[in-house]
């Protein structure tokens, strides 16, 4: 799980162009939206694409993302249980 968590942090920084953020600065329980990394609605859509492209997970309802993208821990747990690649 730790490996997936690190992988997700790297992908999020790369995919969402968080150039001022280091992997070490993202805590596993930090909120990704709001006061955490300060991601916005376009970032949420980008994460939905990332789930499908890299892990073969297609969300039926984009609103599901709100719970899944709560933190790195929650996201990694969801991916490990639902990934198809």
């Amino acid at each position: 799980m730790a490996e997936l968590q690190e992988e997700l942090k790297e992908k999020i920084i790369e995919q969402l162009s968080l150039e001022d953020v280091e992997v070490s600065e993202i805590g596993n329980d930090d909120p990704l939206f709001g006061d955490g990394l300060g991601l916005d609605s376009i970032d949420a859509l980008e994460l939905i694409v990332l789930l499908e492209k890299d892990y073969g997970i297609k969300l039926k309802d984009p609103k599901e993302g709100k719970a899944i993208f709560e933190s790195i821990n929650v996201m990694a747990d969801y991916i490990s249980k639902n990934r198809t690649k």
Binding site: Q15, L16, S17, L18, E19, D20, E46, V49, K53
Partner: protein
Amino acid sequence: MEQQYYITSFCSIKNNKISKNGELLYSDDNSDSIKDFAKGIYKFLELKYPKFHKMDELCKLSFLASEVLLSDQLEVSEDTALVLANRASSLDTDRKHQDTIKDRENYFPSPAVFVYTLPNIMMGEISIRHQLKSENAFFVKKAFDAKFLTTYSRVLLDTNKASNVICGWVDLDNDKYDVFLAFISRNGEKLLSKEQLNNFYKS
């Protein structure tokens, strides 16, 4: 009698250089890409605006030019209008978007790329940064048109639609870029005319 307006300041980004009022601020002949060049300017200006890194290159160039243009303004009036033009529209980003959708077997359009497939997003980014709630207009033209920009800016000021106008040219196509922004106001030393605007653009 025609009301007189002034070109208070102007900023150019061309040939690996950024200048303000004709004076060189920063140059970089080593960057391999516009992305790296823009990042160099961002660091040089000591900006702290994470959203900059999410912008496409066209928006980055217009954003940086507006930062320099407005750097000596204590406060930017929220009714400062924006009138921009270019030749290639958002073609640079349109191509990147096209690359993500051309393969039906590998079809993953990026929302973060797609949102920049309109050139007037440049004005949105500048407006968000400076909290402008103003008139804005974007035009696609064959070349820099000082007469058009001068006339349009005059109309906005004559009709009190704006207290100031940022007008200019922000063009990017295949790593070739040409950026010129001018701040037009009711006070200053350099009278606004199409000849003067053209001279500053060519300087």
